[in-house]
């Protein structure tokens, strides 16, 4: 459904951040982008959702296809109408509105009042916690509740592709589990595609089918979640080692990211 073909992103006319990334998200599929800090994961998402312009970035090469159509020229709001929604890193809920108003704010593309009410109902069944605070000020919600609100707000646009940037940022492990379960459930039940950027590789690999590994603005590895999980390099660098160390076979050198070269 979504296809990036060899895209390049340049910031401020001269700084090359993404050096030819190609990836694909199938309809109803769940894909994760893994990689260390500054690898270009968030930039990739922004290239898809159309948020590069405020940061003086630009897709200078390659094609960004959604259902076979290049949408590079569309603005961010037009892309939302196409069915691509981006949950930003760091939540960005509208602090002065209530959670309910936050949800309704994301429904400018829907004309029917009944549909909006139905969507609110649906989002609140996914996130029962929000229901309890529905008339509080969104700025006073806890971090986890704000994250849920941000995801719920994105779901209000009825997306075909949901992109999540670090949904686990700053959340308690149990809450992370809860949010990932909900994401997996939405993906399963509504056949909505999910593109997930996550530092917590263990959690991410548990809900996706396919993953790409980005380093220095390039894709250096890709495969199904199981292959990625069992890859010794991925285990060493992104999953926190392979568990218990057998000191009899311990190597005298540190494993290196040879594929960076």
């Amino acid at each position: 459904m979504l296809k990036l073909e060899n895209i390049e992103v340049v910031y401020d006319h001269v700084f090359l951040a993404i050096k030819g990334i190609s990836l694909e998200v199938a309809e109803g599929g769940a894909v994760a982008l893994l990689g260390s800090n500054g690898a270009g994961k968030s930039t990739t998402l922004k290239a898809i959702s159309g948020l590069l312009a405020p940061e003086r970035g630009e897709v200078t090469r390659g094609e960004v296809l959604f259902k076979g159509r290049d949408f590079k020229r569309l603005s961010a709001p037009e892309r939302v109408r196409l069915g691509i929604v981006h949950v930003l890193e760091g939540r960005h809920v509208f602090g002065h509105l209530t959670p309910l108003e936050n949800l309704i704010a994301a429904t400018s593309m829907h004309r029917s009042r009944a549909k909006i009410d139905g969507l609110v109902e649906k989002v609140l069944t996914y996130f029962p916690r929000l229901k309890q605070r529905i008339n509080a000020k969104a700025g006073y919600l806890s971090g986890g509740e704000q994250q849920m609100l941000a995801i719920g707000r994105a779901l209000m646009t009825e997306p075909k592709l949901l992109m999540l940037d670090e949904p686990s940022l700053g959340l308690a492990p149990l809450l992370v589990e809860e949010i990932f379960e909900i994401i997996a459930r939405v993906n399963r039940e509504t056949r909505m595609s999910v593109l997930l950027v996550e530092q917590n590789a263990t959690a991410a690999l548990s809900i996706v089918e396919h993953a790409y590994l980005i380093e220095n603005g390039r894709i250096v590895m890709s495969g199904s979640a199981d292959t990625m999980r069992s890859n010794p390099d991925v285990q060493e660098f992104y999953l926190g080692g392979a568990g218990r160390v057998d000191y009899r076979n311990v190597k005298h050198y540190r494993r290196r990211k040879r594929w960076l070269a």
């Binding site: 006319h13 700084f15 090359l16 050096k19």
Partner: protein
Amino acid sequence: MLYRLAGIRHTTYRSARQLFPIPFDRKLLGFVILLGVAAPFYLSPLHLNSYLLPWVIWTTAALGLNLLMGWAGQVHLGYAAVMAIGAYAAIHATRFGLPLEAALLVGGLASSVIGLAFGAAALRVKGLYLAVTTLAMQSIVDWTIVHVPAISGGSQATLQAPTLRLFGLPIETDAGRYWYALGLCAIVTVFLLNVSRTSFGRALVAVREKDFAAAIIGVSPFKFKLLAFWCSSFIGGVTGAILAFCYYRAITPEQFHLEVSIQVVAMVIVGGLGSVLGSYFGAGLVLLAPIFLNNWVASLASALNLSLQTDVLSQIPLVLYGGLIVGFLLFEPLGLAKIYDNVRNYFLVWPFRHAR
């Protein structure tokens, strides 16, 4: 190509931390300084006195305001009032018998004290509210100057500026007055270039970016906003005095009205917030573009034998001027300095298209 980086290795901290680490920048700067200092020898008196001299003085003013707006992020719509205080204070001080250098200091201090008082009152508010509060300062100062005869000599009065003096020696030539203004401009420029490298400058930027994030690392937003008001008003006061002594040579209250404030704000924004070079470009565009457009439109009309009415002829340059400012800001929202920076960046990585 131009900005060659190959083979330039900094082996001492001193050389790595200099203001312009790239040799081409230094050469270009040296050339521009030479052009500026030698201007009286190759420019006609008309060009020197009515183009270059005001450009230099207004650049100094724009730099002072840029410290407040660009570095500390505080909007000020009453900068002409600050300059007026400096001008009147300095002229009264010289009439009182103080040497000019001391009078300039008196002007600067008067401006900074009054500017600080208004700044302190204004700093409980932020953003647009601050802008409106500084607007109030403009009105109050305007009113006071006009209505207190001891300051202005009455609403219709013109106050003659005493002769410009350097360490007691009178300066009577156009070139001398120009160099005097240029000297002050150079001092302010060097100060602002260095502000970015000091803890003071970094604190100002921290306050601008996120004042509570600054507070959380021990930088008091209130203190540094006040310091910014103080420094900026001081520069504004001295520049106002220089404007009175070197350019107008006689001052009236109308010279420091609200539209002048707006003009300085326009210089800062069109040039580029937080950019020293931008203040030069901005002052140049805002001051000189109307003059040149006027001349061009007039000569074009006579060359093409267009018989336009005089009011149409006088409106066209204004329309073009407005269009020019909007056009530049649409082309590059970060101002003229950023356009230069883009070109420079292009040549910095040339022949490659990108740096990584």
